[in-house]
Symmetry: C2
Subunit: 498 residues, 2 copies
């Protein structure tokens, strides 16, 4: 390794250490902190974030990157060092474009705006949140203006989550999905008697079963924690320290900890599977939001809602919950898979979910660049929901106030959820080609070969390659909605009671 | 507030934020982190610590301090701003004396040396630890050499924990205590039948009772957490976010969570009681190690081992533990108070404890500056133990390997434990003068007025005044061992079975 690269790595390591410290503070805030801690935690986070940002955007980093680029010229472009220089240079150039004041203002606004959103949602009071949304949209437009004009201004926002992806590429995928998903939802069978869906599912047993599943997936005690929060999430502080959270609804199987744990475990396995040699570099995390989501959805849905999975796991679950004593495996499997028109994204079934995302993808572009006035958002939301899913929210809590993302300044993020769904099936098909008995293994509760394949083909690379390159490596070609649509059609066809 | 002071506060706030972030990382490491996290956590901590140090020792901070000193000249010397400038200037001058390399080397060595100590203690293998101790002593001497010559080189180390205290002052107090404590231990009555001391004390009940006590003391859920660790400790991230830990021995009442929780709660109430206006400044923590320990010991011992306290609390405790069903209050009270010669500091009774400290205070001076070779430490330790307490360790685990402090580079710290004991009684006597019915209140489980007095007289000031000034404010005069010796003599006299 050249001396320059060594020095670059040393400089970057300290910046990553600070960003990691910020993530520890955030995890602590959401999982452990007594309520009183909130008075100063925002300041601690702002400071650590600002210091990390300032250290990163220094001229010296740019000079080191330039010198290091010369040193790795001619080296294997897949080598860690070559990728490190390439990826970091792009990150650095982006970060340099944002004035420190705008960066600080966005951080501060996001934190305050999320508070305002929480109160507004609680009181179903969209009007009180509107000024915050206006301010957030304004700052987002300023952010976009820091970059050279793109084909579509939304490209700039998308790039923060899917490096180099273009809006029209997303649009092409979603335009194919929209009519197909609507048709699938409309064609779904009416419900069976599913009184068992409302439990009770005692929390302690949910917890034990959730742990049993993630241990079987390979998320061991030595490298993972599982805690409880209102909104489940996953974060990591190195490949060897991964934190998952879940939630425990006792009266709603769909909102039980099982599925949220499967989901977060998928994110966690991705983080855990990174090459440890990438730790303390900017390459040490999943490649993109869509690829990350492809893994949460692969473990949660493709595996975790499959009949083979439940053939293995259902006996334990039925033993754990008295309410399931007389519910046959097939009835249970249909209940957790059947499409149902729904208002809430996070509770939606696999088929309807995509329509929720398509709605948000359109509306956030209209809000930012299409002249949609925030005062008209609730009605526009409800109209689109009627159009796409066939039902209409009775209030804004179940409408445009349901998600925290916009309040937190996350624009350009929603579409990656659905791209993740699409990719999860493309990747799964490739895995099936290499591991033809994967479903038989799942039926036996064996996940080792599946996990190994994913680590080898995807997880270990971290952020070394662009999302597009990584998708080609792991899925064998560019993003393609067809396998996903076939998968949904096949699954839905299998859900007809005998 | 002058613009300079405002700017100084802003600069200091970000340094304090980083130090606080480091404490969150440390707490997480000890309480929550999966084992795998250890591979990178040391790096994260080193980076955050180094960045905080570098920001603090900048010339700009010195210039701001000088300008601010002019601005507060003539202001009330007890004002927050005047104290901030005075205390910070002294901190800054000390920090500037330590070369960055030495600072980094000490941090690194401490972390590695603690690992080596843990292994050595586990294997009772002092020889394997000796090179680490030698290196630590060497760095400590280099550290001392960074400062101007003092009356006693140990003064420099003591100053890190008790600003401006001199070694001969400690020696004077300990010379008075040593013969008196030896006499009290020798005069202690032989034990009664105390088979109940070995339990069982089920962990869950210990936990519930520990929470019940700290809630009664005023450590509410909103501002405190109580978790479990091998070595109990207290840390805080602001006056509104205090973390206590405890341990649960089921077979040893002395090592049960009750007493360690009372102890850590005392530290925690001190942190919690600081004026919130001092948050995010260098003044926002307890004044000194001895004053901090005075509060842990006041709540743990002066209150928490008193007969009035157990008159209130014992009925709940007896109800909780079957083994106590037939044990009268007075027998229980004698069992938790009676002096017994013991080898382990942390399990020692109130009277013997001081002798453990006197032993360490002498030996660490001999090691650093008195020519005691580390190869002779175990024998010297055992000889002194025989002399002071009358018993001799059978191995080094129960001798010179029992404490982590020296491995972590903490020299000059041990004496503050005993100074804290001495101060706890001085402060308590002053409290009794103002709250003459304090014991009656305790007997009723009422701690509000006691807590208020301590907050008003001590806690709210944080680090505003020097330890000596603070002791005069809260205890009415300089440190004095007589009240403490009277307290012990009275207590021990009361422990004679009827």
């Amino acid at each position: 390794m050249s001396e320059t690269v060594t020095e670059l790595r040393r400089e970057l390591a300290q910046i990553i250490d600070l960003r990691t410290a910020a993530r520890v503070l955030e995890w602590d805030q959401l999982v452990m902190m007594p309520r009183g801690g909130a008075t100063t935690r925002g300041d601690h986070l702002a400071t650590v974030g600002r210091v990390a940002h300032e250290l990163f955007v220094r001229d010296e980093i740019g000079e080191l990157l330039e010198a290091a680029a010369r040193d790795v010229d001619g080296a294997d472009p897949d080598s860690d060092d070559a990728c490190l220089v390439e990826v970091t240079r792009r990150d650095w150039e982006k970060a340099r474009r944002i004035p420190a004041d705008l960066h600080a203002e966005m951080t501060k606004l996001a934190s305050e705006s999320v508070e305002a959103w929480a109160t507004a949602r609680e009181n179903d009071d969209y009007a009180s949140f509107r000024p915050w949304l206006d301010r957030t949209l304004d700052l987002k437009r300023q952010y976009v203006a820091c970059f050279p004009p793109a084909d579509d201004p939304y490209d700039v926002l998308l790039d923060d989550f899917e490096r180099e992806m273009h809006t029209d590429e997303v649009r092409r995928v979603f335009d194919r999905l929209e009519p197909a998903l609507r048709e699938l939802v409309a064609a779904a069978d009416p419900e069976e008697d599913e009184a068992f869906l409302t439990g009770p599912y005692p929390e302690q047993m949910q917890h034990e079963l959730s742990l049993a599943v993630i241990r079987a997936f390979g998320a061991s005690n030595e490298f993972f924690r599982l805690d409880s929060t209102v909104h489940p999430f996953c974060t990591s502080f190195s490949t060897q320290d991964v934190r998952l959270t879940t939630r425990y609804a006792e009266d709603d199987l769909h909102a039980s900890s099982i599925f949220s744990t499967l989901h977060e475990a998928g994110h966690g396995l991705y983080e855990r599977g990174g090459d440890p040699a990438l730790d303390r570099t900017p390459l040490a995390t999943g490649c993109s939001s869509a690829l990350h989501e492809s893994q949460s959805r692969l473990w949660e849905n493709v595996i975790g809602r499959s009949l083979p999975f439940w053939t293995w796991f259902y006996p334990q679950v039925r033993d754990g919950f008295a309410v399931l004593a007389d519910v046959p495996l097939e009835v249970f499997h249909r209940a957790i898979n059947r499409p149902r028109p729904s208002l809430i994204r996070v509770d939606a079934d696999e088929t309807t979910y995509g329509l929720h995302i398509i709605l948000r993808f359109g509306l956030e572009q209209e809000l930012l660049f299409g002249g949609l006035d925030t005062k008209d958002l609730p009605e526009r939301w409800d109209d689109r929901m009627q159009e796409l899913v066939g039902i209409r929210p009775a209030d804004d809590r179940r409408g445009c106030l349901q998600d925290v993302h916009w309040a937190g300044g996350l624009f350009g993020y929603f579409p990656t959820y659905q791209l993740g769904n699409v990719l999860s099936v493309q990747i799964w098909e490739r895995l099936l080609a290499d591991v033809p008995d994967a479903y038989e293994q799942i039926e036996r509760g064996e996940f080792g070969e599946i996990h190994d394949w994913l680590r080898e083909e995807l997880y270990r690379h971290g952020r070394k390659f662009t999302p597009a390159e990584t998708v080609v490596r792991v899925a064998g070609g560019p993003i393609d909605p067809e396998p996903y649509l076939r998968y949904l059609a096949d699954k839905n066809a299998s859900l007809v009671p005998a």
